[in-house]
Point group: none
Chain length 132, copies 2
């Protein structure tokens, strides 16, 4: 449908699924869409209908209509769409990192990024000192 696509949608879907992390089978169980179809969708040999997009959105952590705009069913600035995180073109989370972290309780996960924030501010201070 979108000739210039390079299949960014499918790649995004796989990226999100893997980083959660989920298998096709698990996502299938949550969404009611067959694993084979999900796989084909991610790799771009099938284009997902609005129905499937709706079913898989929440399990993947998307807003209900977020995937619609990404799929071109809704224009980018269409109403409502809470300007959520613009992480799409941004950095990627290493799958191994995701897997390890996912095994920790959410509070630990949050602590980890809290500590990361501290380290970053310390590093920043050090860098400023060194620059003097």
């Amino acid at each position: 449908m979108n000739t210039t696509s390079k299949n960014e949608l499918g790649e995004l879907l796989r990226q999100e699924r893997v980083k959660i992390p989920l298998t096709l089978q698990q996502l299938s169980d949550m969404s009611g869409v067959s694993p084979s179809h999900l796989g084909r969708t991610e790799r771009g040999d099938r284009f997902p209908s609005a129905g499937v997009l709706r079913k898989i959105a929440k399990p993947l952590g998307f807003e209900e209509d977020e995937l619609f705009t990404l799929a071109g069913y809704l224009s980018p600035q269409a109403d409502t769409v809470s300007d959520t995180q613009r992480n799409y073109g941004g950095g990627r989370l290493d799958p191994y990192v995701a897997k390890v972290l996912a095994q920790e309780p959410v509070e630990v996960q949050l602590s980890v990024i809290g500590i990361l924030g501290m380290l970053k501010s310390i590093a920043k201070g050090v860098a400023r000192k060194e620059a003097d």
Copy 2:
């Protein structure tokens, strides 16, 4: 498809089209959807995809996503809380954590879980000590 449907969507579409007023041909010219398909859709023997709903929305005076909810592609009020449903199975990575971490270089990500590992082993030692 839905035997009990009464086809409210199709009837609504026809009502709006006639009210404007437009012929199937005219709506077809504006939307790029064939008259025959529009006719079948209104009468309920075809169910419109998200693509055609998007195409005919504005010509009929609807918001772009308005027909999506009417067609059941979008729930009546998309609640914008992605935090509500989580923890499907065990081992899920918090989306916020994922977003934050994803913005760091992969080496930083790896360092982070390295540090996490250290902290865990320290905690384990402490716990054993306390248990004594």
